[in-house]
């Protein structure tokens, strides 16, 4: 049993890692080597592809743009989802179940549906081509998800804690910020991870709502096609660089993800 489990795990990890290895492998090769031969590791390793990304302003600015709208989105999503999730987990109120499902339906709306309306909406209020437009647009699918995950975590915290705090004379905001939020820190970590993940990887909306100033890295990467064909090396390097913030985030929340989910209702 033990060895069989280990074999399954190793097989799956190989399945996951080989394509990623191939990307890293390619990012360290010259275009000539990529297109000329099939080599399992770089024969003449080069950092030229990475140099392009860190010296060309269109590349590193697009990277920073992506980081800025993703962090704005994380902050906005958490800020509105925390109180709402608390309401759903603690109170019954008029239309609460309908409200909860309605929120979820927004997670189901295909981004393709919203392309043109979003474009018009954000153009008309003068936010087109700013990171905040993308951050707000991504709230469409991240806020419902955040409420959903947080509600699960909050339901795992016993209600007696709230009551004791009120008896001790805490006002609601003070209780919420000082006592409750620290208690569900793992849940916030997990939620932040999911918000980060879904916002960082999204292309369709991010590309539609930006043109030059706020162009995200995913859109910049679709423009490596030049007269001489696709610049595979730079594209692969950009892919590797785009992977790094995600790895950092998962590293920070790794214990929360494991412990956190177990605490919550999910």
């Amino acid at each position: 049993m033990r060895t069989r489990k280990l074999l399954v795990l190793i097989a799956y990890m190989l399945f996951v890692l080989v394509p990623i290895y191939w990307l890293i492998n390619m990012s360290l090769k010259t275009n000539r080597e990529i297109l000329g031969t099939l080599s399992l590791w770089p024969v003449e390793p080069t950092l030229a592809n990475y140099r392009v990304i860190f010296t060309d302003p269109t590349w590193y600015m697009s990277y920073l743009n992506s980081l800025s709208f993703v962090s704005m989105n994380m902050v906005i999503s958490l800020a509105v989802a925390l109180p709402a999730a608390y309401a759903f987990s603690r109170y019954r109120f008029l239309g609460d179940k309908h409200m909860f499902f309605w929120l979820l339906t927004n997670r189901m709306a295909p981004p393709a549906v919203f392309l043109l309306p979003f474009f018009q909406l954000y153009s008309s209020i003068g936010l087109f081509d700013t990171p905040i437009a993308v951050a707000l647009a991504h709230c469409l699918f991240n806020v419902p998800l955040a409420v959903w995950i947080l509600e699960g975590f909050m339901s795992g915290v016993p209600k007696e804690i709230d009551e004791t705090a009120y008896i001790d004379g805490y006002s609601f905001p003070r209780f919420f910020l000082r006592i409750f939020i620290p208690m569900i820190r793992p849940g916030i970590g997990v939620t932040a991870f999911f918000c980060f993940m879904f916002s960082w990887v999204e292309l369709l909306l991010a590309r539609t709502l930006t043109s030059v100033d706020a162009k995200p890295i995913v859109a910049q990467m679709t423009r490596t096609v030049s007269a001489s064909g696709i610049d595979w090396g730079v594209l692969a390097a950009a892919g590797v660089v785009a992977l790094l913030p995600g790895v950092a985030v998962i590293y920070f929340v790794r214990n929360h993800v494991a412990k956190g989910f177990a605490l919550g209702r999910v």
Binding site: V16, I20, W22, P110, L140, A242
Partner: protein, 287 residues
């Protein structure tokens, strides 16, 4: 029990306001488009339900819808069991845990167009590892010209991309099972299957609900990955609904028809997800 308190609405209000701004306003625009024939911003005619009737009769869209359902159900049929198996195989404590979690999450964190690019490269017969391997084995594989190959490649790409999400969710569900349960099972000499069927599976029900719903919604809205990998081809083999819609709206600028299509598209997702949701929460109420 939860307290009845309508003041809780104040806590929900920010979410409602934000979502109203980013969902209801655009949705109304779509509804507005769907009943008009628009030539330019100043020349538009009210056409009633004409676009809807046209969409419902459109052969091309019927085919895209069938492809979409076939795709989404294949995705669920592979990813859910595979995700459970991977979650069951993961270590329960020790240094292996964070390593497994980080490695598992890697595919989830790659921008979707990069996912398409990775598979585009790795499947190529000349410069890709897998494509070259299959060629050397004597298999005539070409995802750019053979419809079956393209289909399989898109499916494997999705399995690679998203099974980790199912596995992560299931893993966290498994972690919430106290050790006492396993000890009791050992005393009863329960088989591995019995442990899975009567201890682990019931505990996984809630996370599986989330996993099934998320995977269904997302695979039903898939756009970027197949677009980068195959461009929807060869022919229309891998053109799914989102791509058809985008072609219609941005490519042909056929706003009225695209809007009517959008609404029907949204309703289908809503309906299917609602069915999953009720089916699975009802089973929960009984169990």
């Amino acid at each position: 029990m939860k307290v009845h308190n309508n003041k809780a609405w104040w806590l929900v209000l920010p979410v409602v306001a934000l979502v109203a701004f980013s969902a209801i306003v655009p949705m109304m625009t779509v509804v507005n488009y769907s009943v008009q024939d628009i030539f330019d911003p100043s020349t538009r005619y009210f056409v009633g339900t004409e676009w809807y009737r046209e969409i419902l009769r459109d052969e091309r869209l019927h085919n895209a819808l069938l492809r979409q359902f076939a795709y989404s159900f294949s995705v669920l049929a592979i990813e859910i069991p595979l995700g459970i198996i991977v979650a069951l195989s993961m270590p329960r404590r020790g240094l292996g845990v964070p390593i497994c979690l980080i490695l598992l999450s890697l595919p989830l964190l790659i921008p979707w167009n990069v996912v398409g690019t990775i598979w585009q490269i790795i499947g190529r017969g000349d410069i890709g590892l897998y494509g070259r391997l299959l060629h050397d084995l004597g298999i005539d594989y070409n995802y750019a010209s053979n419809p079956a190959d393209a289909w399989v490649t898109v499916l494997i790409m999705d399995v690679w991309h998203w099974t980790s999400l199912v596995a992560l969710l299931c893993y966290s569900g498994l972690r919430s099972i106290p050790d006492v349960y396993y000890q009791a099972a050992r005393i009863d000499r329960a088989s591995h299957w019995a442990v899975f069927r009567y201890i682990q599976l019931p505990k996984l029900k809630n996370v599986l609900l989330i996993a099934v719903m998320l995977r269904f919604m997302d695979s039903f809205m898939i756009y970027t990955e197949p677009f980068v990998l195959t461009g929807g081809g060869p022919g229309t083999t891998t053109t799914f609904l989102s791509q058809t819609l985008t072609q219609m709206a941005v490519g042909q600028f056929d706003l009225g028809r695209a809007a009517a299509f959008s609404l029907i598209y949204f309703l289908i997702i809503l309906l299917v997800t609602w069915l999953f949701y009720t089916a699975m929460t009802h089973a929960d109420d009984k169990g």
